[in-house]
């Protein structure tokens, strides 16, 4: 079962308020990723966990935080949402330290007003 789940599917947030998105996978994958996807653009990698080690991209380092309380769950946290955060947020997971295929969840569509 190659299933990645994300909650919620849709999220409405106010400017300046925090946002927390949840992802889970049951494949025992060691790596979990978060991407931001805007229309007509490639998915943008925000951060990933390899096991318990968090790697955040340099250009989004201060904007996003994450936690991985166990192997199956990973969250994405925005401390203070801005209008520019409106996007689809995709969670993915993969097995192995190499560039193996990533399995994606259905995404959470975040709208910031």
């Amino acid at each position: 079962d190659t299933t990645v789940k994300q909650n919620p599917r849709y999220k409405l947030a106010r400017v300046g308020k925090p946002v927390n998105l949840i992802c889970s996978q049951t494949m025992n994958h060691d790596t979990m990723y978060w991407y931001q996807k805007k229309p007509n653009q490639a998915p943008k990698l925000l951060l990933f966990y390899y096991d318990k080690i968090l790697n955040r991209e340099a250009d989004t380092f201060e904007k996003f935080q994450s936690s991985r309380p166990n192997n199956s769950f990973c969250s994405l946290y925005i401390g203070s949402a801005g209008l520019e955060y409106s996007a689809m947020y995709l969670c993915a997971s993969s097995s192995g330290t190499g560039g193996y295929e990533q399995y994606f969840g259905p995404g959470t569509r975040l709208t910031v007003l």
């Binding site: 990645v4 994300q6 790596t31 990723y33 007509n40 653009q41 490639a42 998915p43 990698l45 990933f48 390899y50 790697n55 995709l90 993915a92 993969s94 330290t97 190499g98 560039g99 193996y100 295929e101 990533q102 399995y103 994606f104 969840g105 259905p106 995404g107 569509r109």
Partner: protein, 113 residues
């Protein structure tokens, strides 16, 4: 530097016609190559992947792709498209030395009835 170029932002074909979506990559090591598809309001789904061996790889729903090393290309093909193939298609590259996948900007495929 690692990158993927999908030169066609949008491709329109008639149902039943053949299809080729173009992809060129730049990767300093041995590439792992992928095609993903995103249907409306859904996450990314893996269509096919190439790691090594036969340069022509078969994927789901009749899709195939050919790895041409000399041309740094990994074009996606289908002999006869169906209206349900309308979606955004992403080409991606990775390698065995890191966890990152680099995506192209995607090609919007529109299949006319």
């Amino acid at each position: 530097a690692q990158s993927v170029t999908q030169p066609d932002a949008r491709v329109t074909v008639s149902e039943g016609a053949s299809l080729q979506l173009r992809c060129k990559y730049s990767y300093s090591g041995t590439p792992y190559l992928f095609w993903y598809v995103q249907y409306p309001r859904q996450g990314l789904q893996l269509l096919l992947k190439y790691y090594s061996g036969d340069p022509v790889v078969q994927g789901v729903n009749g899709f195939e792709a050919e790895f041409i090393k000399s041309n740094s290309s990994f074009h996606l093909r289908k002999a006869s498209v169906h209206w349900s193939d309308s979606a955004v298609y992403f080409c991606a590259v990775s390698g065995n030395s890191n966890n990152r996948i680099f995506f192209g900007d995607g090609t919007q495929l529109v299949v006319k009835p």
